[in-house]
Amino acid sequence: MITVENLSVRFGSVEAVKGVSFHVPKGAAFGIVGESGSGKSTVLRALSGLNPDWTGRMEIDGTALSPHRSKDFFRRVQMVFQDPYGSLHPRQTVDRALSEPLEVHGIADIEPRILRALAEVALPPAVRFRYPHQLSGGQRQRVAVARALMSEPDVLLLDEPTSALDVSVQAEVLNLLSDLQVRRGLTYVMVSHNLAVVAHLCGTVGVMQGGVMVETVSADDLRAGNVMHAHTRALRTLCMALEEPA
């Protein structure tokens, strides 16, 4: 579904992403982990069309991506950001946020679609006429997921979707993302610094360091410790050490 070959992104004299390649089959989930500044979000932003300055080759569903994307691309590929407080308009109600993608893409039946979307992310219908600040963090992230699903996309790009949430809410949102993936056959690319979260949702994990994807490993191999690169091993060791209570 998604093929990225030799992707490089440069900001002035800094090469933030250096020749990254990976492939995500349809209906699969690919995770990218790395520390701040490793270039993981930059890969996602180039893929999503938020950053037109890249070189290399990217394909979605067999169609090569150009720096300028068509309207249909933005219908089929949607993004969920880390902080729903920042990504939802503070002065627009949930109803407005959810109907906008429909209006942009000329999709009819706005009313039933909004109700269905709220039900799908397990939000009560009463949320519809609230503002983002009237919702809890978990509810806001559910709205952000619902908004991304309005245009019925095939691909969801998830940038740290649960790092701003409490652990109990994180579990609910991760379960929601798993359910949606099965139900709608979505393809995910998720970026996170939390190895356990990425391994939970994604079958394959790419590890980035200094703009390079140093290793691509299956979640099972990662859990079992069958990893090649020292950085992957270091991230794994730290994650294992901290997840056990002292």
């Binding site: 520390e35 701040s36 500044g37 809890s136 963090g137 409490d166 652990v167 109990s168 809410v169 994180q170 579990a171 609910e172 991760l174 379960n175 798993s178 610094h193 939390n194 190895l195 356990a196 979260v197 391994a199 939970h200 979640a219 990662l222 859990r223 270091a234 991230l235 794994r236 730290l238 994650c239 294992m240 050490a241 901290l242 997840e243 056990e244 209570p245 002292a246």
Partner: protein, 276 residues
């Protein structure tokens, strides 16, 4: 040795729909030790810790049978008495250095300011102290960092600067409110290890506020778990595996882990009885 005594602390806020009880009858004592306060957003963990410094919103209605810092009654102390505690005897480290450092002052100048305010020395001595403090928080090139503005520093560096600033007056107690939530896993561990080390070496008390229970247990002696304004369980960090309260176990169970893969994560079922 400083001891914070909190006995039956309640914090409430008037709202349009009546009184909202944010903290309800919390009792804790903290000596020269590392105490973790763990809970979710809105559990009252930050309010509880901030009440020690009387840094609560003006509308907060605070009552307690006892709320004292080294014998000083925090609820009745004058502003001048509180200023002698805040920063000087008890430092507060906040979540995100991006928002809590002054963006138009260099890191060195900010640390020097904290040092001078509490220690009264010359400008030059303060700047030297600032560089020395940056060294103590394991910054390799203290001179460069001292001359840098917050936007030129990474999140981890910014947090080190904030820790250095809080250490400047040589406080007895450090309150760290989600000090590493904005940082990634590797840096998070480094900063917590650094704080743990400094606190142990200087014989300070530490209150570490976080939502990450397993993480906190690695860096604290004791953990108080808060839910809806109450401490539902207090236990030694080493006994976390034997946690008795269903909420504490729920917090541990809902985390995805590398060692124990699950198709679906456990979701917390909240028992109304936890509220009483």
């Amino acid at each position: 040795m400083t001891a914070v005594v909190i006995d039956n602390l309640s914090i409430a806020f008037p709202t349009a729909r009546g009184i909202s009880h944010a903290v309800r009858g919390v009792s804790l004592t903290i000596g020269t030790e590392k105490l973790g306060i763990v809970g979710e957003s809105g559990s009252g963990k930050s309010l509880t810790a901030r009440s020690i410094l009387r840094l609560l919103p003006a509308s907060a209605q605070v009552t307690a049978d006892r709320l004292s810092f080294d014998g000083i009654d925090v609820l009745r102390a004058s502003e001048a008495e509180m200023r002698a505690i805040r920063g000087k005897r008890a430092g507060l480290i906040l979540q995100d250095p991006k928002y809590s450092l002054n963006p138009v002052m260099t890191a060195g100048a900010q640390i020097a300011e904290a040092w001078r305010t509490h220690r009264k020395g010359s400008r030059r001595a303060a700047l030297q102290a600032a560089e020395h403090l940056l060294e103590q928080v394991q910054i390799r090139d203290p001179q460069r960092v001292a001359g840098a503005y917050p936007h030129e520093l990474s999140g981890g560096m910014g947090q080190r600067v904030m820790i250095a600033m809080m250490l400047a007056p040589d406080p007895e107690l450090l309150i760290a409110d989600e000090p590493t939530s904005a940082l990634d896993a590797t840096v998070q561990a480094e900063i917590l290890r650094l704080m743990e080390d400094l606190v142990s070496r200087r014989g300070m008390g530490l209150i570490l506020i976080s939502h990450d229970l397993p993480l906190v247990s690695h860096f604290c002696d004791r953990v108080a778990v808060m839910y809806a304004g109450r401490v539902v369980e207090e236990l030694r960090a080493a006994d976390l595996r034997r946690a008795g309260h269903a909420y504490t176990r729920g917090l541990l169970d809902c985390l995805p882990t590398l060692s124990d893969p699950k198709v679906r994560l456990n979701v917390m079922t909240r028992d109304p009885a936890w509220l009483t």
